[in-house]
């Protein structure tokens, strides 16, 4: 791609986006004629009355208007990559010019809805730290072109190619680190919380219908079943073929059955992470991972839910692999032991500090598990006895920290510590730590976050490019059997 040139999206894109509108117009105005044709009464009809003519003429006008606006919107949508910015101009009546700094990229997604996929087109989404809508959306490009553009943007953002070069930036090589087989995905859905509640409500409804001796109750269940079916389908559709890979420009996630999506999250863009395990998953030792990425935000609920998923279902070794990708330097000598204690441990194993015994009554089940551990690079918060949860926040990603204490907590000498991160599914909160410990952590954490940021700023000279300093960092070996080994081998270049 030549720098500074203005490009247009693929000419077919307005039709792929607006096919519903076109189909609706054709159906609305052409229904009469279609029905005649089907009934074998001739296309125009025996009596060529005014009504049919008006309908067809009106339909034609609407269709032309729609097509015209499609063509205009396509013609006036142009994008450019220059001087470290990506710029997009849209609109012909109300013009909009938007530009985003390349090195501020938080994530890039390539999305292919089913129809676009049939035509070999793809949408490119460029996210910056403004939770909500994508900063730049280019829909649609040819898949090859979208991939090329992604590689170019990531290359520029990483700092391997400056704006003056006009050579094509090659796609960064990637290595697949894990794959979720469809069978396990189905299993995870069957054992998920929603299934638990379905069984519970099914039992309840059977009981009610037996007690009241009426079968009308079943009727009310039909919409509920439909809704649940859709939820299951959506989870299956988006979680299908989940593949995670690592490349120099970050973590790559690919998934989807009908609509496919490929996400790239550059290194250091993950603000917080949580590993959770619903009670039934414990039987099979499964976990899932959610992350906060600044650009993804909490909005577009149905979409965001899946975009923030780093691992839909996986066993412990896979969790360790993902943790080592997110946090290449775990900041501790024995990460395996620390993370295991965080996932399943109780009491003070591996150095976790838990709720003091005097406050057990505040959480009778969880007090032995609620705790924290601070490594050199991240803070680990664990909680939940039935719904196990481990939250990890890298020190330099902490935005602000708050200490909360209510009257009851004060009575027992405990306090909560809340770390604020960018909007997302992870809300880090240390529950009921001893007041002294919490206060100590509050001070230390503020200092650690400060130090970590200073180091980061020194290294990066205030720009957010990530490759010039890490050019030597190797891609982790794709061994999934001993994830912690390569996590610890990766430490060295980072320290060096």
């Amino acid at each position: 791609m030549v720098d500074g040139d203005w490009h247009r999206v693929h000419p077919a894109s307005p039709f792929v986006r607006g096919w519903v509108a076109l189909a609706a117009i054709v159906y609305f105005f052409g229904r009469d004629t279609f029905e005649r044709t089907l009934q074998g009464r001739g296309t125009i009809g025996d009596n060529l009355n005014e009504r049919t003519l008006w309908l067809l003429a009106g339909g034609g006008v609407f269709l032309l208007l729609a097509l015209g606006s499609f063509v205009l919107s396509w013609y006036f949508t142009r994008y450019q990559l220059a001087e470290g910015y990506v710029r997009v101009n849209t609109g012909f009546l109300f013009k909009q010019q938007r530009q985003a700094r390349l090195d501020r990229v938080q994530a890039i997604d390539i999305v292919q809805p089913l129809l676009a996929r049939i035509f070999g087109l793809a949408e490119l989404k460029f996210e910056v730290a403004d939770a909500g809508h994508s900063a730049v959306r280019l829909s649609y490009l040819r898949l090859e072109q979208a991939k090329q553009l992604r590689a170019t943007i990531l290359g520029r953002a990483a700092g391997i190619a400056d704006g003056s070069e006009t050579v094509q930036v090659p796609e960064a090589p990637e290595q697949v680190v894990l794959y979720v087989p469809p069978g396990r995905l189905v299993g995870s859905l069957i054992l998920s919380e929603q299934s638990f509640f379905i069984v519970l409500s099914a039992i309840a409804s059977v009981l009610v219908s037996v007690l009241t001796e009426s079968r009308a109750f079943i009727l009310y269940l039909i919409p509920a079943i439909l809704g649940l079916g859709t939820a299951y389908w959506r989870s299956f559709n988006t979680g299908y073929n989940f593949t995670a890979a690592i490349s120099p420009d970050g973590i790559r996630l690919r998934y989807g059955l009908l609509d496919t999506r490929a996400q790239t999250v550059p290194p250091g863009r993950i603000q917080a992470l949580k590993v959770t395990q619903p009670p039934l998953w414990r039987l099979l030792g499964w976990y899932r991972i959610h992350v906060n990425v600044a650009g993804y935000g909490e909005h577009h609920r149905s979409e965001g839910e899946h975009r923030t998923m780093l691992l839909p279902v996986g066993r412990k070794p896979e969790v360790m692999v993902m943790l080592s990708l997110v946090l290449p330097d775990p900041g501790t000598a024995d990460p395996e032991r620390v993370f295991t204690a965080g996932l399943t441990g109780l009491d003070s194993g591996a150095g976790f500090v838990t709720t003091p015994k005097r406050a057990w009554i505040l959480s009778p089940l969880g007090w032995r598990r609620n705790g924290f551990l601070s490594t050199d690079t991240a803070l680990l918060l664990r909680s939940g006895r039935l719904w196990r949860k481990l939250v990890m926040v890298p020190h330099q990603r902490t935005q602000s920290i708050a200490l909360h204490q209510g009257p009851l907590a004060r009575l027992f000498g405990v306090a909560d510590l809340v770390l604020h991160t960018t909007p997302g599914p992870v809300a880090p909160r240390l529950i009921q730590a001893a007041a002294g410990e919490a206060l100590g952590l509050f001070d230390q954490q503020a200092a650690r976050a400060r130090e970590a940021r200073k180091l980061q700023n020194l290294a990066q000279d205030n720009s957010e490019q990530w490759l010039p300093q890490r050019r030597t960092a190797p891609v982790p070996a794709p061994t999934t059997t001993h994830p912690m080994q390569h996590a610890s081998t990766q430490e060295e270049p980072d320290h060096g």
Partner: protein, 170 residues
């Protein structure tokens, strides 16, 4: 009731202007007149004989309960205002509030995205303003109401300057 604070020890807290109590009083009055007025409607209707239910004692008890609650809140206002404090440290700003439910927050200067200064009608009469810090997190609710206008302006400039010097990415 004296309660031990959970703040880091040895911090010199800067407090809000005592005039901020008046702002809170006005807010209190407006809010409670409306609430108690609404909850007095059943009493009025019962008295007028339009409603058969609720019984008179319940119709009296409802607004009375809200009146008591409002009075309790009124008593707390000066204490709550005195409990709000802030302290500028070298690298971060500390904000605290609350007596029963205490909250102490630390906002690093380098994390601030922007600073808002707002002035409401009552605040303007009293020469006060509200300073609010925003970080990339929606959870950062660092709001300092009831600062004298000059102090608000100073704080804004100070925070912006320090934020600039320690600017960090996300």
């Amino acid at each position: 009731m004296h309660t031990a604070a959970i703040d880091p020890p040895g911090i010199q807290w800067l407090r809000l202007s005592p005039k901020y109590v008046s702002v809170r009083l006005v807010e209190w009055a407006i809010g409670n007149v409306i609430t108690i007025g609404l909850f007095s409607l059943p009493l009025l209707f019962v008295e007028l004989g339009w409603w058969k239910w609720p019984p008179l004692w319940l119709a009296v008890a409802l607004p009375a309960a809200f009146l008591l609650l409002a009075l309790w809140r009124l008593v707390l206002i000066p204490r709550q205002v005195r409990a709000i404090g802030y302290a500028e440290r070298d690298d971060d700003l500390l904000v605290r509030r609350g007596i029963f439910f205490q909250r102490t927050m630390v906002v690093p200067y380098g994390r601030m995205q922007f600073v808002d200064v707002t002035v409401g009608p009552v605040e303007r009469l009293l020469g006060l303003c509200t300073v609010k810090l925003h970080t990339a997190s929606a959870g950062t609710n660092a709001r300092l109401p009831g600062l004298p206008a000059a102090e608000g302006a100073r704080l804004r400039e100070q925070l912006s300057a320090r934020g600039e010097a320690r600017l960090a990415g996300l």
